[in-house]
Symmetry: C2
Subunit: 159 residues, 2 copies
């Protein structure tokens, strides 16, 4: 009774291969998956406080301190004072990192196109719809889990 290989397994394999590819691409640089993720977030949302980054990336503020420390040391980001709140720090992409992120985005788009190109043209629309449906359903399931978890926590606190 060997378990069947399912669509889900293939999706997870794609993600694993993708991460392997990234790791190889960034070997020899100070960029790690977590740091790269922070750079993507900065590229997408613009200069942000560390607190905002922690919230959006769903990690602890302490964790952001470490990631920003490393990225700042590598010249990828800069820290500057918040104009009105002297407790806060604004993290921005360094000028060179902006060009770097544009390259990353271009490479990512090219890879996406390359992979979609491997799919039979007649299958592409259904593939897109199908993946969208799977992502949507999984989002629902995870959200339901989260709410159940929060409810349990609230009960525990209330006791």
């Amino acid at each position: 009774m060997t378990p069947e290989i399912t669509v889900l397994d293939r999706l997870l394999e794609v993600s694993e291969l993708f991460q392997k590819d990234m790791a190889r691409a960034f070997a020899g640089t100070p960029l790690t998956p977590s740091r790269t993720r922070l750079l993507w977030e900065l590229a997408a949302s613009g200069p942000s406080t560390q607190h905002a980054l922690a919230t959006r990336l769903e990690v602890s503020p302490r964790n952001i301190t470490g990631l920003v420390d490393a990225l700042e040391a590598g010249g990828y980001v800069t820290r500057s004072p918040h104009p009105s709140d002297r407790r806060a720090i604004i993290v921005s992409l360094a000028a060179s990192a902006q060009a770097f992120m544009r390259d990353m985005q271009r490479d990512h788009a090219e890879l996406s196109a390359e992979l979609l190109g491997a799919v039979a043209p007649a299958d592409r629309a259904a593939l897109l719809r199908g993946v969208e449906a799977i992502a949507g359903r999984l989002r629902e399931l995870v959200e339901a889990e989260e709410q159940r978890g929060e409810a349990a926590e609230a009960r525990a606190v209330g006791e």
Copy 2:
């Protein structure tokens, strides 16, 4: 010029959500993604030496030592001497973990079915073909990268 959301992005999102779901499911247990991965490997391939696990999971033998230490302490696996090679150690799933893994496989299969169920029946065949094609192409790309890397290493050693 906001980057488009692509099939690849959706695939990566699915993987991220899946991992989030796993993390939630294993909260409060000593099971982490790496340890769970080792358990899956043992369930799939049967009792194995640590060296074999290191090779198949593509991590260092030292890393396996730590993972097996934790899993052994948690009662998930047992270490026993190799029958003919006194250097080697055989790692096996503990009896309780065998039942546990059957449950995991069942849950995984149910989740896969649930997600495929969210896809319009008419789209399913094309989805399967499409995801297979993407995984295949990405496998090729990563393999090509690997070989280029090895060639470069060989040149460096030869110098």
